[in-house]
Subunit: 213 residues, 2 copies
């Protein structure tokens, strides 16, 4: 398998974690979002969306969208499982992953921040406030769900990592990179620390990637 | 089952389509996003995220996040199937659904538009340009993928509806409501028209809901 990735893309970071947890080896192909390589013709023929990550499977399929890739890897390589067995638990895990994937990340990714600056002409200060606002909204919801539920364990759902953790860890990395205050979210903090002690998560960290600046 | 919904919420619209396709009857509980009922304590105890949709299952579980709810319904009520059987087809369908769910919708929902107006003070004109921009980015990618691929049929993937169509139809409804030009997307247009001829899609339309204005 070949993963088209950018070291700091949190969507690619999710897929790297899943590949590591499943013990799958893969070729790393760096796509520099800063240089705009994702918009170049060579890449667009593989992924018309011009986004990372993209997973080229051993069958030659090119799979886009991190959540779809994670579900694919879960179905194709079921062990260790990243979704619980019971439908309601699976819905809880997917729901937690979706809070990050849909309520926070899309609002704070690079192309949106660029639009805010270039098209709307907002100040750096207002841009940072935007960033912090969506993190705070999403993390407050996640903290409430995680802190209240008996289903929460050492990780977001029970005592082994699930897709909920896979999505949470890169988002916390981003939050800290942009100076968000994490003290209101002690449960998130505790879970992310537990994740980062596992080699599968640690090895997927942006700083460990071949294209790390 | 009970669905907490708002007639114009495109995330709730997705779940209504799936419930209809699966032939599941449900109680409709309206939550007015315009009146802010989603932020009231009574609702927040069920869904700390303060978002619709929310599905209360017959087992008493409260499931949030439309994609997680759709996957739950697919697992619990597998027929008619909304995901193909082969892993690569499933990844394609989920990837298409994710383009809408992650690249377009989160940027254009009500709370984001409100932030643009109230916090950033942008003009109505600039807000509409923002709306159209993210639709155009996402639909251009979807159109390219759909038009190029032999996997596209009468619907996004083959000749029966899948989750890709379930996510696409509400987004096109939104796009038209905000006056987006759909002529650059003939494949999307053709597929959405085919969907809307099916009662499961037509009955889920915002105008057919009990709380339609």
């Amino acid at each position: 398998m070949k993963l088209y990735s950018y070291f700091r893309s949190s969507a690619a970071y999710r897929v790297r974690i899943v590949l590591n947890i499943k013990g799958l080896s893969y070729e790393y192909s760096a796509v520099s979002l800063v240089k705009g390589e994702q918009r170049e013709e060579a890449y667009r023929t593989r992924n018309p969306q011009g986004l990372v990550p993209l997973l080229e499977t051993d069958d030659g399929d090119c799979l886009a969208q991190s959540l779809a890739i994670c579900e694919y890897l879960e179905e194709k390589y079921p062990e260790p499982a990243l979704l619980p067995r019971d439908p309601s638990g699976r819905a809880r895990v997917r729901g937690l992953a979706c809070v990050t994937a849909m309520e926070i990340h899309p609002l704070n990714n690079l192309r949106v921040l660029k639009y805010l600056t270039n098209e709307l002409g907002i100040t750096e200060h207002a841009k940072l406030a935007w960033y912090h606002h969506w993190i705070a909204e999403g993390f407050a919801a996640l903290e409430a769900i995680l802190a209240q539920s008996p289903a929460t364990g050492r990780f977001c759902h029970g005592d082994t990592p699930t897709l909920a953790d896979v999505f949470l860890v890169p988002q916390v990395f981003n939050a800290e990179r942009f100076g968000c205050d994490m003290t209101p979210y002690p449960t998130i903090r505790r879970i992310v620390d537990a994740c980062n002690r596992l080699p599968a998560f640690a090895d997927a960290h942006p700083s460990c990637q071949p294209d790390a600046a």
